[in-house]
Amino acid sequence: MEESSIIKIENLVKSFPIGGSFFTALDNINLSFSKGEFSGIVGPSGSGKTTLLNILGSLDVPSEGEAIVLEKKISTLSHKKAAQLRNGHIGFIFQTYNLLPVYTVYENVEFPLLLLKMPSKEREKAVKEAIEWVGLTDKIKSKPAQLSGGESQRVAIARAMVKKPELVLADEPTANLDSENSHHILQTMERLNSELKTTFIFATHDEKVMSYLNRIIRLEDGKVVKDELIGAKIAAS
């Protein structure tokens, strides 16, 4: 793996059984991502963006080839090791926010730290800091049902960022948001990327998101058809 590379994907193939045959969702993918990248996998629906993100997030495994994330081979990780990798080093942001409905904003953001068994005082400080990053201090006791879409996604960002992970995987984070909220959360993530040097990888087909990215990988029918760096926006790496 290269010096600053935190993800390396080699000859990755992912296929799913459908009926009596197999559908190839990802076909011979070779990519690498460096620390601090703010990059996106773009393409139409069904192109394999989410599948690739799931494999990078150790929620799924390749059918062939290998994905090495933070020096861990995804295909050989046990369930427990994969959970440890997600818990300790990867943050997820979902299109539908996936906040825990019975928890308050504070409790939602606190959840990953509880899994990390962080001491209570340290945890409280980290949670409040994360909520402050996304500007939701006044909503700390609200439940997800009381939040707007934009606010919910900001809580999801705070939850992903609270443990200061090396990698954040965001699957269509703006798909359910209006333009203003989309820009707001993208600016928030861009700021966190530059302040914390966290690597962000988006799966999106939203033009607004693409305008913020410093690298765009275009997928079509499970294959990488384009991988371009947007020069002016290359991060500190």
């Binding site: 989410t50 799931n54 997030g57 929620l59 799924d60 369930h79 427990k80 959970a83 440890q84 997600r86 818990n87 300790g88 997820f92 979902f94 539908t96 996936n98 906040l99 825990l100 409905p101 019975v102 928890y103 409790e107 959840f111 990953p112 509880l114 899994l115 990390l116 068994k117 939850r159």
Partner: protein
């Protein structure tokens, strides 16, 4: 600790769903404890009454005495042994007799017992002779069945030790109420001396009830000691049968409660797939998710126990003091049962019920939770039904 905290947070956060479940389960706790307490109370009362009215600290039976053999009854009496005369005892002489209430003929057992005995609760102090009349006392069932009242005269016929028939008029000096049918139905109680005189068996008895433990269990020639265990064996058998019936009720109530929890947990899994997927994505292992859901189910039973305690303790205490009046006439049931049963809630019953419900609730929560481990997290995150 973290799992407990999260499970509690999930439970309390679920609001009405949790409380409905908890309330249903709390009913199960209270009903199971009340029902078992009622049966236990019945059992305790039946034993206590039989000891108070019939058995005391055991009985010495004449070696020929067989309560199930009427043909040997006339030969089943002997002099009261000297070893026992110094102790607190209630010797009883039994012989067969016949009465003629309202012109009908009816076989009875004539039982002679000292009028001044303090061993059994039978009100023998009423067996005081007045105007040369022989006083008798009978139980309320006997009185009701034969339409007899206090003060009535009754013709009694019997055989003496030589087999000669004799008859006399007796006066009903009292009618007593007892829950022990073997003291009541078909029994006529007389003063021991009167019956001894009537049957020409002076100083003799068929059985001797021991009034104190100090004279229980002695080996006396011609007499067999019958312990409490022996004398209560039939009752214990009935209690055992009742317990089997009670257990079926217990299991049914438990199954109903468990069905509610199982149902809720199954529904939770389908409704909360997205949440489960999120838990996994945020770094929970499958084992932790199973543990969390199992704990949630188990905690339902803990919360239910607390809720049940809030309304159940006063309710059960109330029923303990007021008792439960049986809605039908229990006189003819033939077993020792009072008209009002006072439930008996032992610590063992309460702790046992709580533990059984908690363990079962946790187990039935584990079953659907185990299903989670087979769930594909990528589909679960999207909330796809699998």
């Amino acid at each position: 600790m973290m799992s407990i905290k999260l499970a509690l947070r999930n439970l309390l956060g679920a609001g009405l769903r949790t409380w409905l479940n908890v309330i249903v389960l709390s009913f199960s706790y209270v009903i199971i404890i009340w029902y078992q307490g009622l049966i236990d109370g019945w059992n305790v009362q039946a034993r206590r009454d039989m000891i108070a009215w019939e058995i005391a600290n055991g009985q010495y039976w004449n070696e020929n005495y067989d309560p199930f053999d009427p043909f040997t009854l006339e030969d089943s009496h002997a002099k009261i042994p000297e070893e026992l005369t110094s102790g607190i005892i209630a010797p009883i002489l039994i012989t067969q007799g016949t009465i003629y209430p309202e012109g009908r003929i009816q076989g009875v057992l004539l039982k002679g017992i000292p009028k001044d005995q303090k061993v059994l609760r039978i009100p023998t102090d009423k067996l005081v002779k007045e105007n040369g009349e022989i006083p008798i006392i009978i139980g309320s069932r006997m009185a009701k069945n034969n339409k007899l009242s206090t003060g009535d005269f009754l013709t009694v016929r019997w055989r003496d030790t030589n087999g000669t028939f004799d008859a006399t008029e007796v006066r009903i000096a009292g009618i007593f109420k007892t829950d022990v049918p073997s003291v009541d139905g078909g029994n006529i109680w007389l003063n021991l001396e009167d019956l001894q005189e009537m049957t020409q068996s002076i100083g003799e008895a068929t059985l001797i009830v021991a009034g104190s433990e100090s004279i229980s269990g002695k080996e006396i020639s011609g007499w067999d000691y019958k312990s409490l265990d022996f004398l209560l064996a039939d009752l214990d058998q009935i209690i055992k049968q009742k317990s089997v019936g009670g257990s079926i009720m217990y299991i049914l109530l438990l199954l109903l409660a468990m069905l509610a929890i199982f149902d809720t947990q199954i529904l939770s899994i389908f409704r909360r797939q997205k949440e489960i997927g999120t838990f996994v994505a945020l770094g929970m292992t499958r084992g932790q998710v199973v543990k969390l859901f199992t704990l949630e189910g188990g905690m339902n039973s803990v919360l239910a126990a607390i809720v049940a305690a809030v309304y159940g303790i006063p309710l059960l205490m109330f029923t303990r003091y007021t008792g439960y009046a049986l809605p039908y006439d229990v006189d003819d049931l033939g077993i020792a049962i009072s008209e009002v049963i006072y439930p008996s809630y032992s610590l063992g019953l309460i702790v046992g019920t709580i533990l059984v419900v908690m363990i079962t609730a946790t187990f039935v929560s584990y079953l659907p939770a185990r299903k989670i481990s087979k769930m594909n997290p990528t589909d679960a995150i999207k909330g796809k039904i699998q």
